[in-house]
Symmetry: C2
Subunit: 333 residues, 2 copies
């Protein structure tokens, strides 16, 4: 009897186990393991965010589909997106890279240039890290430290009954881009760019915070269904999502249609869209929408509402039929 | 022509290349890539340290020789040691773990308990991270954020001609422990503990800073010869090391002797001792030594002196013969 394997309890089961193994002594830790980033309240009153994410070759990316520059960009973007999800601004990053010994110097340079490009674009300096040999492919772990104003701090917990549920941009594009890359047609530039060069919604998070205090926020890294579930579980609420209101790009629709697949599935469980999902008082929506669109060009869509029926997350189709929405996002293991 | 492989330029060649690929925009970055930790000067005047390190299964550790708890401890200790090397105190850590899908939940728990044990012992809270599948063995990347008083901040640059070169504790023990483990005798408890459960010199760094301002400091992770070279290169000085003054534990001597190997080689290039190597004005040595020993129980040894002959690092044997000391520490790739 050697005990349970990790894959039997899944990612969120494992996170609960890990929480049980670590001790938190410092009063400064406002929020530890379990959100997009940890929140630290410094003695000066500043709030700091710390987050880290890993991309593993063969699990999260393949060199067949992406340049090293794009892999670097995406690794950086995924981390910056976690800072955006907390309402913050990224400041400094450290990068741990493991790679096979036969890797080319110029490939490593391309990787760092891609990371640096997205980091510097959003005001984040790469200040250190570690390089080591791997036994297989590449592993890229990035940790980002950011800051956030107390009044802009957004977590997964805090959604209120009656809140409007909003998303930035459009969903399902990354999944559509990946499918398009696998077909090697590469004709759908928009979707492919969404998959390979996602833009973290730092500016949008800032613009949202300029106008309103969101009640809960998360970035859509695993898929909408999964992220709505996170917010509802942490906020102890339910949610009703209107399928017809979920924003999807025309290219995403076209790719799904051509492949005979459900575009709704792309949006609900495609993952890696790195859009923001947030809830706020419905009377604030118009002001947020116009301010964000004016300042960033990114549309805001209302896709549903927070309900008081804890554990009941439903999706409503165009005919008004309700169905339970299970978290069917990207399964990490 | 696909370009040079990484192993052709080595770790330090690669770090130089990486430096050329990243941009630093923020005035807050006092020190970026290239020391044990990055140094950030916050608007409040606080100095922050950020460091990260990776341990790769098969490269840095084997489960054959260590429990998961010990692997976790050592991964944490290696990072905390980098904070000690800057004169700082660790505060918060994030952990990225990649593991094979068949790994047991209880093994992951043991790993985190080991990490948490060393972190909490030195005042550092594990506040987040990421867990992902790997394609091979485990990869553990930890990033630690710490703080340091401006007057205690120590870097590799700053050694002055005439400085005494000092080390904490003793050297070569980790290498001796590894050799002992390979023989499966496991009779040398001290050396094996040095290899599997190294103690980061956080308290010693603090005690040193209580009494004197060090001019340069680094932790001995790759081996004494390599670290002396780092300090001299960054400080543009030379150094003279007295072989007979290098502190070595009796068990380390015994293991080397039994194996017919040079104990001096263990001390110079064994690596993973995680002691502190520092330089300071010779008149400060007595006060530092007695304060550190009184407060931590750890001895301080003077092993050499900083010289003005840049690029000339020599080791002097008991008969006064000088030999050039090349950086022969652990080669990462």
């Amino acid at each position: 009897m050697r005990g349970m394997e990790i894959r039997e309890i899944g990612e969120f089961g494992l996170i609960e186990k890990i929480k049980g193994c670590v001790t938190t002594q410092k009063e400064s830790v406002v929020l530890g393991i379990g959100d997009d980033a940890a929140v630290i309240k410094e003695t000066s009153g500043n709030y700091w965010l710390i987050t880290s994410d890993t991309l593993v070759e063969g699990v999260h990316f393949r060199q067949e589909f992406a340049t090293l520059w794009q892999i670097g960009w995406k690794a950086g973007a995924a981390n910056l997106s976690d800072i955006a999800a907390m309402g913050g601004e990224p400041r400094w990053a450290v990068v741990c890279l493991s790679f096979p010994g036969h890797m080319r110097v110029r490939d490593v340079e391309d990787l760092y240039r891609g990371m640096d490009r997205v980091c510097s674009k959003f005001g984040c300096d790469i200040v250190g890290g570690d390089t080591t040999l791997s036994m297989g492919g590449m592993t890229i772990s990035i940790a980002v430290v950011g800051r956030v104003d107390e009044e802009r701090l957004a977590t997964r917990r805090g959604a209120k009954v009656g809140d409007a549920i909003c998303v930035t941009g459009d969903l399902g594009g990354s999944k559509a881009g990946l499918e398009s890359l696998k077909e090697k047609g590469q004709t759908y530039g928009y979707a492919i760019r969404r998959h390979l060069e996602p833009v973290p919604r730092i500016h949008e998070a800032k613009a949202i915070g300029d106008v309103a205090r969101v009640h809960a926020m998360i970035d859509i890294s695993d898929g909408l269904s999964s992220e709505v579930n996170h917010i509802c579980r942490e906020s102890r609420t339910g949610a009703r999502i209107f399928a017809a209101s979920i924003p999807v790009h025309e290219d995403t629709r076209e790719i799904a249609r051509r492949r005979g697949e459900s575009v709704l599935d792309y949006a609900l469980s495609g993952g890696e869209d790195f859009e923001l999902l947030f809830t706020l008082a419905p009377e604030k929506v118009d002001a947020v929408r116009s301010h964000v669109e004016k300042n960033t060009g990114t549309p805001i869509s209302v896709i549903g509402e927070i309900t008081d029926d804890e554990k009941m997350i439903v999706i409503v189709d165009e005919d008004g039929n309700e169905e339970k929405l299970f978290p069917l996002g990207y399964q990490h293991f």
